[in-house]
Subunit: 365 residues, 2 copies
């Protein structure tokens, strides 16, 4: 395999600790897995702000644009609650998503068998759960203009955000959802609020049309996003692939992740369109969980979501399916042997540290 | 008690059936409870559209504006999926909310002890759950302009919705939340996405300021709305009162309702500001569940949320607290005796019809 270029952006909070474990995994694949990854590292979020007053530097942005894949930790924390809006930690992540045009965010919500008891839901409701949320990531209320606070005088201000979706944006994200459904349960549920939002009306229309234009073999269902939230809680196994917009996807994927009892375990992939010449997609991989500043530095962080995110990179950026399967299996084996970080331990169960979990996964490889 | 004026708007689907049971309850309070309610009835939603091509007629709107309280069933159904956006069933409800200026939507999510097993969540997670979601109901992306679909040519359209919040809107809804918290657990959690939305930044700022201006005895906590959705699933008992905007409130209250396992049981109140002269608030009461067209006419609908919504009217519009308590107790008693409609029955349990449940509650009164 030709040498591949990874940019590691550990970020804030537990980001650096869990990235440390991914580095061990990358080294293993270089030494024993016949791969040839070259890694570079940059700053993002609060740590970038502390270093140079921006949530990501132009230099690191350029590296991200050139990398074969970006491996991203997490950003944010109370330390930066009062920095100006434009340079808040999240701005770095949002800029990466927007400039790299990572419109397709894949968030699997699976329930690891060893952890079915860790959920707040009844075991039969979530055991074997395997859904994939396909969230639109470069449009909607996250980026629409106007987005501003206006001073109206008299002590009154007005906060404005704009949800905008164009036909092509809905077309390409639903295309991704239909393609992925074919590799899984062959069913797509599209969620919006067409009863209240015009962008929801368009969303519904374009998904329906895209389905007609070449995906009629896939089962398509429409659901209002609020009803979708309910149904996720009631009986999540009714879903296979869910496709939805940026904001609904943010909410629904977090709810779905928490259902599984495996929040510290869930990876995500954010993908761009295939390049016209090389066919390669820009891509960023990150855990679904956040920067957990409360446990940063204590060795309690669960590195699995971060390691599994690298697994998604193997699968989606490098087409190393066997290696990805091997890594997923190593994670499952470590869990089956009873290794638990604090977040996934049952009361009374012995826990291991971030480093110990990383080592155990390497040992399983 | 002077005569009070109720406008009943049964709406679509199971709306008329469950309203029928409320009528029996109203009659009971008139005959045996020393009250004097006068009722009038109107059309809303699909049934209004079928009758006169509008989702609510001007005449019924005028009645709603004049009523002491509106008792609302549910609207919508596949029959009206293709009617023009402006006259879709939901438009009638949205117009009532907007024209009556019902900015405060109170959605209790409580777990009825008799039903703790009906939830998809583990019993210890939801047993005794009692949270109140205070949702802003006349602002945000529901009503902001522009709200339109533009034809861009080349087969491209653009769907636009606008989220708008002014200081005074956030002030008054958070005031309601703080006041209500004082009558309960004395804690308010405010939810927004200030890390992505400017309206969220303003929301956070104004709630914090309102807290400082006279509510510092109440505990205030801020949470990002996506994290809030997660925490609702993880450990909902951490919450007392949640205050949030129209769209997040829509999603989060549905998730919260489903957690309880008691969706067919949950009422809601939508209140306006007190009138400057009389001190009376305009008000509309409706169940949290929808019109359930799939079971309409089968006698399977659970009338409890609808009856409990009338109970909220007794409490909030008529200050008949003893009567409201009596009605809530009658509902709890019927449940304790094992009466179940289909939606809340455990496998194998005998079920009763809509009418039988209504009769049983009357008998308990
Ligand atoms: C950190 C934040 C900007 C981000 C989002 O809202 O998209 C996060 O919640 C996520 O889901 O990746
Ligand atoms: C029917 C619909 C317009 C409404 C809403 O979105 O507000 C409903 O979901 C609700 O929560 O009352």
């Amino acid at each position: 395999m030709a040498s591949q270029n990874l940019l590691l952006l550990p970020g804030d909070g537990i980001g650096p600790e869990i990235m440390q474990e991914v580095k061990k995994v990358i080294a293993w694949f270089n030494e024993k897995g016949g791969m040839s990854f070259e890694t570079d590292e940059g700053l993002v979020g609060g740590s970038a702000y502390d270093a140079h007053g921006q949530s990501i530097s132009e230099e690191d942005m350029a590296k991200a644009m050139a990398a074969d894949a970006v491996i991203f930790g997490a950003v944010g924390g109370p330390k930066w609650d009062d920095v100006p809006y434009e340079v808040r930690p999240e701005a770095g992540l949002l800029r990466l998503r927007k400039d790299m045009q990572l419109f397709a965010n894949l968030r699997p919500a699976i329930c690891y068998p060893a952890l079915a008891d860790a959920s707040s839901l009844k075991k039969d409701v979530i055991e074997g759960l395997d859904i994939l949320i396909v969230r639109e990531l470069t449009g909607g209320v996250y980026f629409g203009e106007p987005k501003e606070i206006i001073d109206l005088g008299n002590g009154q201000k007005r906060g404005i955000d704009t949800q905008v979706y164009d036909t092509y944006e809905i077309e390409r994200i639903s295309g991704v959802a239909f393609e992925l459904a074919r590799t899984r349960g062959n069913k797509v549920t599209s969620m919006e609020k067409r009863n209240v939002m015009k962008s929801g009306v368009l969303w519904n229309e374009v998904v329906t049309q895209t389905h007609k234009n070449g995906y009629e073999d896939v089962q398509l269902e429409h659901m209002l996003a609020d009803a979708g939230g309910m149904q996720l809680v009631r009986w999540p196994k009714q879903f296979d692939v869910i496709v939805t917009d940026n904001l609904f996807g943010d909410m629904l994927s977090d709810v779905a992740a928490m259902l599984t009892g495996s929040l510290g375990m869930l990876p995500s992939a954010s993908l761009g369109a295939p390049d016209g010449v090389t066919g390669k997609r820009k891509a960023l991989y990150e855990p679904v969980h956040g920067s957990a500043p409360d446990i940063a530095g204590t060795g309690a962080a669960n590195p699995i979501a971060m390691i599994a995110s690298f697994g998604m990179a193997l699968r989606y950026s490098f087409e190393e399916v066997a290696a990805a399967d091997k890594l997923d299996k190593a994670i499952a084996n470590a869990l089956d042997k009873g290794l638990r970080t604090k977040d996934i331990a049952s009361p009374g169960q012995t826990t291991v540290s971030t480093v110990e979990m990383g080592d155990a996964i390497i040992a399983e490889l």
